[in-house]
Amino acid sequence: MARRRDEEDDDVEDEEYEDDEEQLLDDEDYDEDEDLGRGRGGSSRKRLRSDFIDVVAEEDDEEDEDDDDEGFGGGGKRHNKAPRVGSQFFDLEAQVDSDEEEEEDEGEDDFIVESGADLPDEDVDRRMHRRPLPLREDEQEDVEALERSIQARYARSSHTEYDEETTDVEQQALLPSVRDPKLWMVKCAIGRERETAVCLMQKYIDRGSELQIRSVIALDHLKNYIYIEADKEAHVREAVKGLRNIFATKIMLVPIREMTDVLSVESKAIDLSRDTWVRMKIGTYKGDLAQVVDVDNVRQRITVKLIPRIDLQALANKLEGREVAKKKAFVPPPRFMNVDEARELHIRVERRRDPMTGDYFENIGGMLFKDGFLYKTVSMKSISAQNIKPTFDELEKFRTPSENGEGEMVGLSTLFANRKKGHFMKGDAVIVVKGDLKNLKGWVEKVEEENVHIRPEMKGLPKTLAVNEKELCKYFEPGNHVKVVSGTKEGATGMVVKVEQHVLIILSDTTKEHIRIFADDVVESSEVTTGVTKIGEYELHDLVLLDNNSFGVIIRVESEAFQVLKGVPERPEVSLVKLREIKCKLEKKFNVQDRYRNTVSVKDVVRILEGSCKGKQGPVEHIYKGILFVYDRHHLEHAGFICAKADSCCIVGGSRSNGDRNGDSFSRFGSFKTPPRVPPSPRRFSRGGPPFDSGGRHRGGRGGHDALVGTTVKIRQGPFKGYRGRVVDIKGQSVRVELESQMKVVTVDRNFISDNVVISTPYRDTSRYGMGSETPMHPSRTPLHPYMTPMRDPGATPIHDGMRTPMRDRAWNPYAPMSPRRDNWEEGNPASWGNSPQYQPGSPPSRAYEAPTPGSGWASTPGGNYSEAGTPRDSSSAYANAPSPYVPSTPSGQPMTPSSGSYIPGTPGGQPMTPGTGGLDVMSPVIGADNEGPWFMLDILVNVRKSGDETLGVIRELLPDGSCKVALGSNGSGDTVIVLPSEMEIVPPRKSDKIKIMGGSLRGVTGKLIGVDGTDGIVRIDDSLDVKILDLVILAKLP
């Protein structure tokens, strides 16, 4: 150590850089020394330590002095200077001593140091030889030279104040300041980012300091751009001049606070070890899950185990030298290799023993197989190992019988490795899955980086235990209602019916099927959704025509495929169908006759008279080629769908679609003893929800005559799609429409029109009404009501029921209880709304209103007005910005409260989904106009304006029609009155008021307003004591 310094001193003069480096070493010596002081270390370290003792001892004084000047505040870094200088001096003097000690030490160490310690010994030898030389030189060296060298060090150390040691705190100290050079973003040729950076380096070397740039950064994940660090833009321009890969047309300055983001790349900690799950990035197996079998770090190769996708026939052809189609038309499905099958096709199968592992492999055409798996060696670059979340199905497939339990644990650890930060939250119920405490249950109290402090359930244990998060798993009990938050089933909800350690079996709310899912992927939630219900234009429960002219109902939507219940009445046949295998959606409505020659149309309730599903009954959802798809909610298979021949069914009760609409249908059912109208309540399906109820209410006064006649409608589908016209006549399902543009009368299906383009209706002028009907969130209009809360269906008169045309119903589906939590709402939407183009009357900016909300649909206001009317998109986007899929339902207990932000953009303001609050008031001029408002909730303070007076009151009850029971008085001690939403107003809170949050992800949460910043309120949440910044308008004062 000391000797090193001597050497170094020699070098100082001639090679500055060396010196710099050595200096660094010095610093580190110091650190090292501290380290060693803690008492670890083997023989060689010990030796070092011993010769350091002197140095340190003597340094102490120095250090103290130093401390006076600088203090210790800077941590280990700053006082490096002093010791360095000190050691410089003292090393030289202390040398002799330390050497002696070292020798002694070495003697002692000998029996510890075994043959493995060759290297250090050698080192010492070498040093010993060298030692005399520097010593002598040292003597020759005059004091001035020494002084000079020290000064040089001193001077330099001023701008290298930092150390190589990284702690977060010190890293903070390095944050860029205004004095630092800036980062400039420069466009460069795609794929040439690295090259460009290297070229600039070369240019710098060639041109010397002419180039005034400091560094060039090429990020792997940022194509087309590089960053150049320089003080001035001109420097950048100068530097990039003449580089063909750089297009210096635009040089963008990176804002100072984004500079660190540029450099913070996550070091891809690829932990490729045996059994890690990976995914293939390229080739036939692209996207497939694979398991690492062997890693060759040197050659960067990796052997993985895959489920083969091999077309044996094609392989046989190839091996026999027959013509092979050049371009593969399709990717063979994954299937385990069956050696016998291969042999049948005369494919040569060699059984070989791997010399390294001793395992036997079947070699087929150069590919290695074992237990049906393909063992493939690929470049590490061709797999992705990050964030691999094998789905349950995939893992299931991978599991071979021999490694049942074990295989699962492997999957478990992989899953854990991919957990996101903040996986556990305070209050989560957890179970220990590994280690001594296995199966201990508890609740999360506190989460540290790696450790989770849990409050164990068992008595007699410490109050909290710190458990590594890798040993923990979320815990659910049968009966919990959960929502899936990641994986392919994301968005689905259901009830936990069984818990197998970290695997839950959930009874899905929609499909009534069992889903096996990792406990990690779910959160407790009372929400009821279905997850993905749509791919492309196909949606759950659609009737589709398949490739081979078979047809069926989509009963489940998976991430990339549909499960389709085929239209084969003999036995339930379900097949997994890819999007491309679906030819089209079948939307045409047919009527068929049942066994007794009664006409059956969609929505009629039928009973199945024969076959395996005999006795089941339910509404007909689809009719095609004499086959009925009946939905029976008691049928637990196939999402409740039953496929039956029309003539093995008989109609029961009234035909919903006809009975209500045409008087004559009553007579038809006269022979039945059942009431003409089937109680709609028990249907899970909300398609029948009355989306136009409120519209109907306004029309109600017209009596028996069909309200549509005389109104102006727009045709949504068919050859006259997009045309507008006046309804002249209605006959059953068909409507005769006089087209405005063509001066002729056409007949269209009633389902194909929309009556919301009411140009000449009187309602237009009744602005007050109009406004009311614009409110898309009027409770009675939300289709989910009839199902969830039948009593809240005041507007549902039979005639409106008639409006419940299936087509439209589908369009409304999003609002229905089974409504999807659509992640791809925006993409998905246009397709589904495609049927109803007039719903987007050319107002693209108001995205929120693109969706055919019942209100906007019915309102006489074309969409354009809508946005002009000052209905701010902001408020809805405020919702949208707060996507919080985890939020359990609102306190009002409405199970379908949408907590997912992604859903909401389609629903104006997002309110329609929270009918329970009742405060869906947009008629209120103040609140409604701002569209901030209809968020009345229990317990909040409101300003009641009744008959000219203004009084304060507290909402005590929310009534289904949107009005509220309000207890008057500032603390609700007065009389209780019923107040319409338009008559009250939320009382804006002031600083230090208690508040309730009326919107966003924290809806319903109470807290205290601890400060106001412009339009933002700073809120401390009561429960968590978290401080949140929220828009003031969504805060309501509590009494």
Binding site: D20, E21, D31, H159, V265
Partner: protein, 116 residues
Amino acid sequence: MGSAPAQIPTSFGHELRACLRCRLVKTYDQFRESGCENCPFFKMDEDNERVVDCTTPNFNGIISVMDPTRSWAARWLRIGRFVPGCYTLAVSEALPEDLQNLCEEVHVQYVPPKRV
């Protein structure tokens, strides 16, 4: 300050490797022939096997540091004291243990990459 720059990578493809200690980026051949300018104690030029142990092809991003002492980026990345040259922003592997010990022996600090 004009310390001699490190060798500049001669290619930009898969041959590139980064020193696990100082994150200097060069080609495999360059490391083999002349070692790492910042970490001469690895003696990669003497023992070619070492190149494989001390360097990695798995790294993320490249930064060419012209002026390490005055570059903020270099300082932020803690490579401000190394010679000018091409470095990587982050390596994903840690130095093998025996080489970490070697660092310790020669009193060179080694900071293993942070795990995400």
